[in-house]
C-alpha cells in the first residue's frame, strides 16, 4: 500500500500494561483490555506521555461504537492525561493497539476511525486536501506489528481496510477466541452506518 508502512514493534499489550507511570488500578484494568489507546512517549526527549489533540473525543467515539464485549482502555492515569497540539493541518489520530484475540474487530476499528476522520473534517475541501497519520498495532502473543498510515484522507479507508484484511489472513486466530468478540464485522459496520445516518 502506498501510504501504509508495516514494521515489527516490541510494544505489545504487556508492554503497555507495565509502563512505570501507570497506577496499579490502571495497570490492572489495562491487563484486561483488548483494544488500547496509547500515548506517544518521550516527546522531544522529555519523559512525558502525550496524546494528539482531540483524543478525548476520539476515545469517546471508540467507547460508543466498538462492539459490545470489547474491553477498551487508555494507557494513562486520569491525572496524567495530556494532549499535544501541534497546530498543523496534518490530522494525527491517537495510536491504537489491538490484540489478535480481537482480530475480527480490525475492520470495525478501521471503519470507526475512518468515520471519525470524516466527522472531524466535515468540509469536503478539507477532506480532499488533508493528510492523516494513524498507527495501529496488532499484537499476536509476544509479537506485535505496527501499521502506520500517513497519507491523504481520501485513501485512508480503502488502504487501511485492504491492509488489515491482508494482515489478518496471515495470522491464525487462537482457538480460545471469545465468540463474543467474533461478532461479524458487517453487522457492526451496519450499526455504524445506521448511526451515521441519524
Amino acid at each position: 500500500m502506498a501510504n501504509v508502512r508495516t514494521e515489527g514493534t516490541d510494544k505489545t499489550l504487556e508492554y503497555w500494561a507495565n509502563r512505570p507511570y501507570l497506577s496499579d488500578t490502571v495497570r490492572q484494568s489495562l491487563a484486561q483490555a483488548n483494544v488500547l489507546v496509547v500515548p506517544s512517549e518521550g516527546f522531544r526527549d522529555q519523559e512525558i506521555q502525550v496524546f494528539p489533540v482531540c483524543t478525548e473525543g476520539f476515545y469517546e467515539v471508540l467507547r460508543d461504537e466498538l462492539p459490545p464485549g470489547t474491553r477498551l482502555e487508555i494507557a494513562i492515569n486520569d491525572s496524567d492525561y495530556k494532549e499535544l497540539a501541534l497546530h498543523s493541518a496534518t490530522l494525527i489520530i491517537a495510536s491504537v493497539v489491538v490484540g489478535t484475540t480481537t482480530l475480527l474487530i480490525l475492520p470495525v476499528v478501521v471503519n470507526i476511525v475512518s468515520e471519525y476522520i470524516n466527522r472531524r473534517l466535515f468540509n469536503e475541501k478539507d477532506r480532499k486536501e488533508s493528510i492523516v497519520r494513524w498507527e495501529l498495532t496488532v499484537v499476536d502473543g509476544t509479537r506485535a506489528t505496527k501499521l502506520t498510515y500517513e497519507g491523504p484522507v481520501t485513501d485512508f479507508k480503502d488502504e487501511m481496510q485492504r491492509t488489515v484484511a491482508e494482515f489478518s489472513a496471515t495470522v491464525a486466530p487462537p482457538a480460545s477466541e471469545s465468540p463474543l468478540l467474533l461478532a461479524p464485522p458487517l453487522m457492526n459496520e451496519a450499526k455504524l452506518n445506521g448511526e451515521n445516518n441519524k
Binding site: 478525548e56 499535544l84 497540539a85 466535515f122
Partner: protein
C-alpha cells in the same frame, strides 16, 4: 426592526447588503436566551445557526472592506474567521446554505486566500495539561467525560474546550497551518517593529476592481510562456526566472521562453475602462 425568526432569516437572505449587524445579532441573542430558559434546545440551536450566519456575513463584509482599504493582513484574518465559522456551522445547517449566501462566501474565501502571498506559517506546539468544557466548565477527564461533545450545540452555544493550563514547547514553520493568522513578518532592523514585506499585487489587483462583496468573479491558476526579453539580460549562471531554483543554463536557456505561473481573473461585472489594462507586469 426585526422581531421574529422568519424576519431574521429574511434580512440575512435579502438581496440588499446588510451593513449594520448589531440589531440583528442582539435580536437573535434575545430570542435565543428565551428559548434556552424555556429548555427549547431545538429553537436555541436554530438561533445559534442564524447567529453564525450573521457572524459569517459580517466577517466577510469586513474582509471585503479591508481589501478595498489595502489592509491585506487584517483582511486575511477576517477571512480566517469566516472559514472557522463556516466550519463550525457546516454540520448543523445544510438546507439554506445557498439562500443565505454561504455557498458564495465559502467559494470566495478559498479564492481570495489563493491570491495571498503567504506560503509559510508559524505553528506553536503546546502541551495541554488542563482543559474545561465550554458548556459546563467541568474539567476534562478522559475516563469521566462531562457528556458534552466538541462541535455540538448545547443551550444555543457551540461546544469547545478551553485550555486552562498548558506548556509552550516549541514553534515550527509549516505550510499548512491550523491557524492561518500566524503569518511571519520580518522586523525592521532600525525600529525592531515588524514590517509587512509581502507582495499583495494579486489581491490588490482584484480589490481595486471589485465593486461589491456579492458581485461574482473567478480566478484560475495556470502557466504562461513569457518572452525572455521581459527578464532583462540573463547570465548563464543566474538563477532561472521560472523560479525552479536551477541555474539559467541548466533550465530555460534552450527553451523558447520562460514558463511562469499565470493568473486569470474572470470578472462577472463590468470593469471601468481605466481599470481594464494590465499593469502588473509579471
Amino acid at each position: 426592526m426585526v422581531r421574529t425568526i422568519s424576519e431574521i432569516r429574511e434580512v440575512l437572505s435579502s438581496p440588499e447588503i446588510l451593513v449594520n449587524f448589531e440589531p440583528v445579532i442582539s435580536r437573535i441573542s434575545a430570542i435565543k436566551s428565551k428559548a434556552v430558559s424555556n429548555g427549547d434546545e431545538k429553537t436555541a440551536k436554530n438561533l445559534w445557526c442564524l447567529e453564525s450566519v450573521a457572524e459569517i456575513q459580517q466577517y466577510y463584509l469586513e474582509a471585503f472592506t479591508k481589501i478595498k482599504n489595502g489592509q491585506f493582513f487584517e483582511a486575511w484574518c477576517s477571512l480566517e474567521q469566516v472559514e472557522l465559522a463556516l466550519n463550525r456551522l457546516r454540520r448543523h445547517f445544510v438546507d439554506e446554505w445557498t439562500n443565505l449566501r454561504l455557498d458564495f462566501i465559502d467559494q470566495k474565501v478559498v479564492s481570495l486566500q489563493s491570491l495571498y502571498p503567504y506560503r509559510i506559517f508559524m505553528s506553536p506546539e503546546l502541551i495541554e495539561h488542563e482543559k474545561v468544557c465550554s458548556i459546563c466548565e467541568r474539567p476534562i477527564s478522559i475516563r469521566s467525560p462531562c457528556g458534552h461533545r466538541v462541535g455540538e450545540i448545547y443551550e444555543g452555544k457551540w461546544c469547545g474546550r478551553i485550555v486552562t493550563k498548558c506548556d509552550f514547547v516549541g514553534m515550527s514553520f509549516v505550510e499548512t497551518p491550523l491557524q492561518k493568522y500566524s503569518v511571519p513578518f520580518l522586523s525592521d532592523p532600525e525600529t525592531g517593529k515588524s514590517r509587512d514585506h509581502y507582495d499583495y499585487r494579486l489581491v490588490n489587483y482584484l480589490g481595486i476592481r471589485w465593486p461589491s462583496p456579492y458581485q461574482d468573479w473567478e480566478v484560475r491558476w495556470t502557466t504562461a510562456l513569457h518572452a525572455k526579453e521581459r527578464f532583462g539580460t540573463l547570465g548563464n549562471n543566474d538563477k532561472c526566472p521560472c523560479d525552479s531554483g536551477k541555474e539559467y543554463k541548466n533550465c530555460c536557456l534552450d527553451r523558447r521562453g520562460i514558463i511562469r505561473p499565470h493568473v486569470v481573473f474572470e470578472f462577472r461585472f463590468p470593469i471601468p475602462e481605466h481599470l481594464q489594462t494590465i499593469e502588473m507586469g509579471d
